[in-house]
């Protein structure tokens, strides 16, 4: 019979006390694992998605809010910017892709965000070397919709399903008359795109109420043009004059097979159109830097670097919260360690005779020390391993909720490298708390204890 077996038998002899002390360690480790895993997932997903585009352009204000809203579908939408501005950026020679993003509506079922965009959105990698894959096809006609995998799963929508957008990101009673038809379902990407409903930007502008009032639009267009003229920096962005939009009836009618659109068919002049944001990929990194500087100097818009904004939030908010939580859970572990110490130390008085018997049978001082020490290690490590399983188990339970609420695709069994530290830390903790009871066993006066 080896020493581990002997230690294990002693633990089993005090089953309830042993279970409770191991459980306290397990709960501490559970918390730590949960914090690490969730933070790791958030970190990866934010970093992954943030690296898809060079710049996000939107109305002046908080760049962080712009990025969170446009890419992560979090936070409230920012102010809109003129469609003309989008057209100018698209024509800029430094720009590889300029993708318009229009927000403001949600689905009635599931409250998923509806994003009006151009078909180009799906041509650009959402992450380096990761392209969108779709069952069905991408946006072609005005009233086409492509939905994220989570939307399809939650709402039970498939190709051919139709829906009417509801106005406003917040709860709103107003439902638009226009009907959109699902023509494609995106393969899971593990990004907030899974929670998006993408409609054709031309269809978005045909939704009643999405046009800017004509007089307001005219005034804003004039102001925009004047601002462009006044701003030398902004002129650098504009390489060709914004084409004057004309109010003309749209030639196509949406009466093709499979579509039954109860909506008004009207073509908006560009002056009456707005976009919430523009996703930009520059032709090269230097162009991206210059473009950003120029846009930010202008009066109309700001350009935010997604990676930078997310890094800021990860370092200054998420990182600090994680550090705080890790410190708290580390303290819990220390308290658990003290619990183990108290449990083993208190049992020593009852076990003095047992230890003396072992010594009388020939066990050396170091042997009885090792047995008590091993008990501490087994309780700590056993509790810790249970805690790791429990921690990941909690993430398994929380993952679907987090996915629905944040659009983050979570792998509950994603292993954080920092988790590797837990085991050595637990062994060190167990060693620390096992020393004193071990020494008590070591110093046991055999003759006295045998005849006490």
């Amino acid at each position: 019979m080896n020493l581990v077996t002997i230690a294990w038998k002693s633990i089993r002899q005090r089953a309830l006390a042993s279970f409770l002390t191991a459980l306290s360690v397990a709960l501490g480790v559970t918390l730590m694992v949960s914090v690490l895993v969730v933070h790791g997932i958030v970190d990866r997903i934010f970093s992954q998605n943030a690296s898809g585009y060079h710049l996000v352009v939107g109305a002046k204000g908080s760049p962080l809010q712009l990025v969170l809203n446009t890419i992560y579908h979090l936070s409230s939408p920012v102010e809109n910017i003129p469609y003309l501005y989008y057209k100018e950026l698209k024509a800029n020679p430094r720009v590889e892709n300029a993708i318009p993003i229009c927000m403001g509506d949600v689905t009635m079922e599931g409250n998923f965000r509806i994003i009006g965009t151009s078909p180009e959105f799906f041509e650009v990698d959402y992450h380096p070397d990761k392209k969108f894959r779709v069952r069905g096809h991408f946006l072609e006609d005005d009233f086409d919709a492509v939905i994220g995998s989570q939307v399809a799963k939650t709402n039970g929508w498939k190709i051919g399903s139709t829906f009417q957008p509801a106005h406003g990101v917040a709860d709103d009673d107003h439902v638009h008359d226009e009907k959109f038809t699902v023509v494609g379902v995106l393969a899971p990407t593990g990004t907030p795109n899974d929670n998006g409903v993408y409609i054709h930007i031309d269809g978005f502008y045909q939704i009643a109420g999405h046009e800017k009032p004509a007089d307001e639009a005219a005034a804003k267009a004039a102001a925009f043009e004047a601002a462009q003229q006044a701003s030398g920096g902004a002129k650098k962005v504009v390489v060709e004059a914004a084409p004057k939009a004309t109010v003309a009836p749209k030639k196509e009618q949406h009466d093709h097979a499979g579509h039954d659109h109860a909506h008004h068919h009207h073509e908006l002049p560009d002056e009456q159109k707005e976009v919430t944001a523009i996703l930009i990929n520059a032709k090269h990194d230097t162009a991206s830097i210059m473009l950003r500087a120029t846009i930010n100097e202008g009066p109309y818009a700001q350009a935010a670097i997604p990676f930078q904004e997310i890094n800021w939030i990860l370092n200054n908010v998420v990182g600090n919260v994680r550090t705080l939580l890790v410190i708290m859970t580390a303290l819990i572990l220390v308290v658990s360690g003290v619990g183990i110490f108290v449990s083993i130390y208190n049992s020593m008085a009852d076990r003095r005779r047992e230890i003396a018997v072992m010594r009388a049978l020939g066990a050396q001082r170091t042997t009885v020390f090792a047995i008590i020490f091993l008990e501490s290690i087994l309780l700590c490590v056993g509790g810790g391993l249970f805690g790791v399983l429990l921690g990941h188990g909690m993430v398994v339970i929380a993952a679907p909720i987090l996915e629905v609420r944040t659009g983050l695709l979570i792998d509950p069994w994603a292993f954080e490298t920092l988790e590797l530290v837990i085991l050595p830390v637990l062994i060190a903790l167990a060693s620390l708390v096992g020393i004193v009871p071990g020494m008590t066993a070591y110093r046991t006066d055999v003759a006295k204890a045998l005849h006490a």
Partner: protein, 221 residues
């Protein structure tokens, strides 16, 4: 393997500094395979004598020679190892470990001697003491007599040269006393193991060919 004590002295010092001489043995011997009953009054030093012989307690002076080894000259780890290999111990209160089954209690004796666990031998010994049907029972589920028989099996598992028994029948009823005593003596005969059995019972002592009174050869000063 014989036992020889020569000029052994042991004095305890009380907390208030009072000296309490407990052993003063000029000469005491036990031949290989010999069985001796040691009788004496409570507090007379019987248990201390057993502790000194087994190396649990170190005498202040003198020699304790078992076979060719003077136990008093060994380091503590060496004494522990010597005790594990050469000396069997039976206690008055059996001292079985409650977390272990009968079989495991017997195997425990082997674990500390550094020998490979010989489950077959442990089972054979338990069979020999009539407990082959109680191998997996823990001490709490065994009768007093059964516990003492497990203790006997445990004391013999390493084939000791010397068996020290401290009032092994004091806790069991008269009916079982004779059986247990016979069991111990028979086992020692089988293994050619010297037996030094401490008892305060004249009936128990009367069954031994040699009876020693501690006060006759122990003169603490």
């Amino acid at each position: 393997m014989s036992l020889r004590l020569k000029d052994v002295r042991k004095t305890y010092v009380e907390q208030d500094g009072t000296r309490l001489p407990i052993l003063g043995i000029t000469e005491f011997t036990l031949q290989t395979g010999e069985q001796v009953a040691l009788v004496g009054e409570s507090g007379g030093g019987k248990t201390t004598l057993l502790n000194v012989i087994s190396g649990i307690t170190v005498p202040d002076a003198g020699q304790v020679v078992i076979g060719n080894t003077d136990v008093t000259r060994l380091s503590e780890p060496a004494r522990d190892r010597f005790r594990a290999l050469k000396i069997g111990f039976i206690f008055q209160t059996f001292n079985l470990l409650p977390a272990f089954t009968a079989l495991e209690n017997v195997l425990l004796g082997m674990s500390f001697s550094g020998q490979k666990s010989d489950t077959k031998r442990a089972k054979d010994l338990l069979d020999r003491v009539g407990l082959s049907h109680r191998l997996q029972h823990r001490p709490a589920t065994l009768s007093v007599g059964e516990q003492q028989r497990v203790a006997v099996a445990r004391s013999l598992v390493n084939r000791p040269a010397l068996l020290l028994a401290d009032e092994p029948t004091a806790s069991i009823d008269a009916q079982h006393q004779t059986k247990v005593l016979e069991l111990i003596r028979e086992a020692c005969r089988e293994h050619n193991c010297a037996l030094l059995l401490v008892t305060h019972s004249p009936e128990v002592a009367g069954q031994f060919p040699r009876v020693e009174r501690l006060k006759d050869f122990n003169h603490p000063q």
